[in-house]
Symmetry: C2
Subunit: 343 residues, 2 copies
């Protein structure tokens, strides 16, 4: 039976995670969930971000479901570096998976894009690049200050995430992978990415490929998001592109993500892309769809593809049935989704 | 009398630059233009990208007007690093200025944004960050390959571009500057940018300020581009954000840019954001508006604010008068713009 660690976190995190658990319990009865108290609240209370003992315990689970961590009073970087990125790196979650669909019933911001037309997934590298934490500064707070950030890219790290992208594309209908980088400026890393991409592409003659500079991709995600199937890119570019993809498909309120260690050597982590939204926390009005879709990714990763499909179908029905402007109640949405997923 | 170096370049470059010159000649009679043959064509013919002698000659001009350089047969990086970036760095063009307006008459892609509502300018740093060319690789073409790219940021470089952004904001109606970075992950460079921003902000109590992470800014540029006035950001973030800003305001076909050395110690360079568009080159159908708007930025930089305003008014009239779907003729648009600008 699947053993899930649950980090509900701060703000609306607990509210949306409760719905994701409802749905999980419905489609996978008997799932064992253990709650871990991590995030801004714990940091404020104890000064702890992620004690080693907790990291070890988390490692013993099949997957982690996370709500949202953070609030405006925590200094930037503390929870990001100390918790979220720490988990991605410690658990070698090198596939940061971010699907974007424009669901029927959802009013996207783009006038010329119809529901159902956008169905893409960004495979963002999760353990390298500018997120490596390599950098420093000299002469801080003087006119001579210099600060650096270094993007570290290995053939090992780049090739494995590209392989994952091609494998995913091979299972999809359009079978297309777009590499996004900035090879004309970041020539060293760009060349590594491009050569690894070409090598893996050569092993997948059945998959179409294209390359785009990140600035062009950012533009085309707005003007023609329909053109993308699987996008593979580095850590920072993926961070930016997935927020654009979320924006054009109805907002981060609907965007799910998985930080995946495909080999299963470590637990993968699943979380909505949205944050803790302190402004609406505690009111029971947060949309739990992103958290529930993240639970569907979790199910898929653990091999429960059929249960995942049922959750996705429930979300599709929920979104198609919404009337724009009518406020939602978090718990009611969760109830409907759970009921639909087992109906 | 203003001495302008003209680099028409490749593809549609010469076609659109010809219109920009028509307009310049109309509003600033007697402007002296010297043509320089640089770009893909020259590289193919001679192997030269930017001979030192040409760089020296360019330095003797008041400004450079560039069309577009490149074609798909030139390896990535050759013209970008050897020509465009070389000029930005050699001429210390640290303010990369990219205004975005949703002009009346232009159908933007966003359903809920009305013409006239978007009027923002991105002040992109132009001489530092990941564009410094600092990086390398080891064990190339082996499984052990590692490739790095380093973002270099100095207090000197960061503070001066932030100062420029505040100065611009002070001359605008809304007087607001948004700093975009990724302080929660790129903690060293992010901290430098944030501290320099706060220091300059303290000298401008009349200017409103806000901070956004780059992923959030990428999203808000799609969902709420109206909220921005002046955006200041680093070289790479600016590259990406300005393409999004262009996309939501009608595409890079309308986007102008200036690579500016505000002190005038070196010539500033003005160019449309679009590329050489080989697919439509030579047909006389390219839209010269971006090139003409770039010429307006040139006029402004050289102190001809009134002439610049007349060019902008001509563009406004041109765009307001267009019928969607009716093909345009490059030269006719140029004629109309030149005539309107002096009417
Ligand atoms: C919170 C932050 C560290 C994180 C990232 O940059 O990866 C977030 O933006 C995301 O996309 O998951
Ligand atoms: C061509 C390339 C070097 C350039 C850049 O990245 O700055 C372009 O994308 C731009 O935005 O002017």
């Amino acid at each position: 039976m699947a053993r899930i660690a649950v980090v509900a976190g701060d703000g609306i995190g607990p509210e949306v995670v409760a719905q994701a658990r409802k749905v999980l319990d419905a489609v996978l009865p008997g799932v064992q969930a253990t709650e871990y108290d991590l995030g801004a609240a714990r940091w404020h209370r104890t000064g702890e971000v992620l004690p080693d003992s907790v990291l070890t315990e988390l490692a013993g689970h099949d997957a982690i479901l996370l709500g949202a961590v953070g609030d405006p009073t925590v200094p930037p970087g503390v929870l990001e570096r100390g918790l979220l990125l720490k988990l991605r790196f410690a658990f070698d979650q090198y596939v940061n998976l971010r699907p974007s669909r424009l669901w029927p019933g959802v009013a996207g911001p783009l006038g010329n894009v119809k529901p159902g037309e956008v169905d893409l997934v960004v495979v963002r590298e999760g353990t390298e690049g500018l997120y490596a934490g390599a950098g420093g500064s000299l002469h801080r707070d003087t006119p001579a200050e210099v600060a650096t950030e270094e993007s570290l890219n290995t053939r090992h790290g780049v090739e494995r995430v590209i392989r994952d992208a091609f494998a995913r594309a091979g299972r999809r209908e359009r079978r297309k992978v777009t590499l996004v980088h900035k090879t004309n400026v970041l020539t060293h890393a760009g060349s590594l990415w491009a050569r690894a991409f070409d090598a893996v592409a050569a092993e997948h003659p059945d998959v179409d490929t294209e390359y785009q500079h990140v600035d062009a991709a950012a533009m085309f995600l707005v003007t023609q998001p329909q053109r993308y199937d699987v996008v593979v890119t580095d850590n920072l570019f993926g961070d930016i592109l997935t927020d654009i993809a979320a924006a054009v498909t109805g907002g981060i309120g609907l965007a799910a993500s998985g930080c995946i260690n495909p080999e299963g050597a470590y637990p993968s982590m699943f979380e909505p892309v949205h944050g803790s939204a302190p402004d609406i926390a505690g009111q029971g009005v947060a949309d739990p769809v992103a958290a529930v879709l993240s639970a569907a990714l979790l199910l898929e990763q653990l091999g429960h593809a059929e249960a995942a499909a049922r959750v996705n179908a429930a979300v599709a029905a929920e979104l198609a049935g919404r009337t724009p402007g009518v406020p939602l109640r978090t718990a009611e949405v969760g109830d409907r989704l759970a009921a639909h997923a087992v109906s």
